[in-house]
């Protein structure tokens, strides 16, 4: 069967002055439908680059990236925009709602760019808002909602276009721990309902909520496997001193240093 996400020997190289930085250094990775994958790594590990490429916001320097069987690594701006629109649902750390639009209009945006008619847009936006329990707030502006509610709106927006992959970039980063747990629980629920979720985070305690963890360091995958495996959350050697309190698989309560 075809993989939903397939990285084959992907490199992303930035030219920083005289130095060539390998943000992704030969990464190969596959994600199938229905998976819940956390891509974990400290800053500089290449996880943001990986997320940009998975999210079709960037293209690899070399190697191929196939999304839903289609090679998207050589697409131009507008073709990528169309792929983002049809296949991806983004959830950002800062929610990234447009402040001037009300909740429903925000949720309708991906449908608007997909060319869906007004009536259908409204129907699907309300449906998505019902899934996150905010249909009654659809006339409100984002600024009138709490952080947790705003993040749920952005989840509804990600769901509205019925994407193949939900791509969550530090979705709990701006939330208190209680609300963060709610959002994570919601992502788990979505996954249980069949959605494919890719979560990008630096935080082990969040990553372990996924089923599978992919750990990146210096642009390379250093672990890829079950989230319950203790090795999934073990820090690279140089950071070991910081995680003395590491408790064990499944309940890594301590904050890993980013």
């Amino acid at each position: 069967m075809e993989h939903l996400i397939e990285f084959k020997n992907v490199y992303k190289i930035y030219q920083m002055g005289d130095e060539r930085v390998h943000a992704l250094d030969g990464v190969s990775l596959t994600v199938d439908r229905g998976e819940f994958v956390a891509i974990v790594g400290s800053s500089g590990s290449g996880k943001s680059t990986a997320m940009n490429i998975i999210g079709c916001l960037d293209v690899p320097t070399s190697g191929t990236y196939r999304l839903g069987g289609v090679d998207v690594s050589t697409m131009d701006d507008d073709q990528q925009a169309e792929i983002r629109n049809k296949m991806l649902g983004f959830i950002f750390q800062q929610y990234n709602l447009i402040p001037k639009l009300n909740v429903q209009e925000n949720v309708e945006l991906p449908l608007l760019y997909a060319g869906v008619g007004a009536e259908e847009r409204r129907r699907r936006a309300i449906q998505a808002l019902e899934r996150v329990g905010l249909a009654n707030k659809r006339r409100n502006l984002p600024s009138q909602l709490s952080g947790g509610q705003q993040q749920r709106v952005s989840i509804a927006r990600a769901l509205a276009g019925d994407p193949s992959v939900i791509l969550a970039d530090e979705p709990t980063g701006a939330l208190d721990s209680h609300t963060g747990r709610e959002v994570l629980a919601f992502l788990q629920k979505l996954n249980a309902e069949g959605d494919t979720v890719v979560l990008i985070t630096h935080d082990n305690s969040i990553a372990v909520k996924a089923k599978r963890i992919v750990r990146l360091q210096d642009g390379k995958i250093i672990y890829d496997g079950d989230a319950r495996d203790p090795r999934a959350v073990v820090q690279p050697e140089e950071d070991l001193g910081d995680i003395q309190g590491f408790a064990g698989a499944g309940e890594a309560g301590e904050e890993a240093q980013a």
Binding site: D78, A81, E82, I98, K100, L112, Y113, A114
Partner: protein, 408 residues
């Protein structure tokens, strides 16, 4: 891309910062208002002049004669001009000398020193149209007749102001004096202007021979011809010029101008003047466009993150571009609409001011905005917005979504 949403967003963001919106649109508002005012004034002026010419009659041909001066014996006699009309009746319907007479008008103990006295012939009055060549209609009594003119009878036709002011309305058969010579009133003109002192209702028409006597000279320097019909006005003009050239042997002693020609010349002059003024106003539109471009560039920078969000959700370059172009177009269109309203209001105000200054009343000058002028200036303002919105919109469309999302 969804037009209505972009339009609504544009209106929303304009309303959100009214002061900034107003300043953005100011150039367009001033430019459009200026164009409307200029076209209204020009149009009003043209209407006014055309009406004046119509009242004078489109068949009118003015002949100005200043002679050769000095000792030259060549001169034009009114009889020469009458002979011309007799000779070419198919082209020339009539002629009247038009002599401004000097002299104090007096009725009893009252002086009327602002009254204009004109010496004319019976042809000055067109019985069919009940109208004299200077436009006004005969109200009561009769106009000067052939006999009056031929015998230089001391009779006169007076304007409505004089009839009221000197005779209390009952002027027929009464008399007044001009430089001491008594004249009997045989006719009263209908009100033409507003019956005030010094207006075209404050006039006296007398036989031109009498006027020449009052002036103490045998010289007629202005003749008014009537061509037989409008189409032949140029031929009629040629006939008169030929005859005058025979007399003077030079073109420098006289000037012949037909109404139609004069109207064309005035229209052409006015059009040129209007074009120049509109071009100047267009500079304001250009500056307005640059103002919009400036604010749009600021807006693109301010909304970099929004652009990033939209792109991440699948907005293509043309979606972003059209959003900002629609926004620029909306801004300039609203500015244009405000400018149009302002221009129409100003044109109205100017109409009243000019009417007040000229004292012409409602019948006089009216600055009318033309539908064409309104449509064009609105179109141009929208066009300017779109044109100058393109550069910022394109900048927005080309933003890299990753950088845009990270922008604070």
């Amino acid at each position: 891309m969804n037009f209505t949403q972009s339009f609504r967003l544009a209106v929303k963001s304009l309303l959100a910062s009214k002061m900034r919106a107003l300043l953005t649109m100011l150039g367009i508002i001033i430019g459009v208002a200026a164009v409307i005012i200029i076209t209204s004034l020009g149009n009003g002026m043209q209407n006014y002049m055309n009406r004046q010419f119509d009242q004078l009659g489109a068949n009118l041909i003015q002949v100005q004669i200043w002679g050769l001066g000095g000792m030259s014996s060549r001169s034009v006699d009114p009889d020469d001009m009458y002979a011309l009309v007799d000779k070419y009746p198919q082209y020339l319907a009539g002629v009247s000398p038009y002599v401004m007479a000097q002299g104090l008008v007096r009725r009893g103990a009252d002086d009327f020193d602002r009254t204009s006295v004109y010496g004319v012939s019976e042809f000055f009055y067109d019985a069919q149209r009940n109208q004299v060549l200077s436009g006004s209609h005969l109200g009561r009594g009769r106009f000067l007749s052939y006999i009056d003119v031929e015998r230089r009878q001391n009779v006169c036709v007076i304007g409505s102001y004089l009839a009221q002011a000197a005779f209390g309305g009952d002027a027929l058969g009464q008399s007044l004096t001009i430089s001491g010579t008594p004249f009997t009133v045989i006719g009263v003109m209908a009100e033409y202007a507003d019956s005030t002192e010094g207006s075209s209702d404050d006039v006296i028409f007398i036989p031109y021979g009498s006027a020449m006597q009052l002036n103490g000279s045998g010289w007629v320097d202005l003749y008014l011809f009537n061509s037989a019909d409008q189409d032949n006005a140029n031929l009629a003009k040629g006939i008169i010029e030929t005859r005058l050239y025979q007399i003077f042997q030079t073109e420098d002693a006289y000037y012949v101008m037909s109404s139609a020609e004069m109207m064309d010349a005035m229209d052409a002059m006015l059009n040129t003047l209007m074009m120049i003024l509109i071009l100047i106003a267009a500079i304001s539109l250009l500056v307005g466009g640059i103002g919009i471009m400036n604010i749009m560039l600021v807006s693109v920078t301010e909304r970099t993150r929004e652009i990033g969000i939209r792109k991440s959700l699948g907005a293509k370059r043309r979606d972003i571009r059209s959003q900002f172009i629609i926004e620029a177009g909306t801004t300039s269109a609203i500015g244009g609409a405000i400018g149009i309203v302002l221009g129409i209001v100003m044109a109205n105000v100017l109409t009243n001011v000019i009417a007040f200054v000229l004292g012409t009343g409602n019948d006089g000058f009216v600055a009318v905005p033309t539908p064409g002028g309104i449509a064009v200036s609105f179109g141009v303002s929208v066009g300017v917005g779109i044109l100058f919105g393109y550069l910022p919109a394109n900048k927005a469309a080309r933003l890299n979504p990753i950088d845009a999302l990270r922008y604070d």
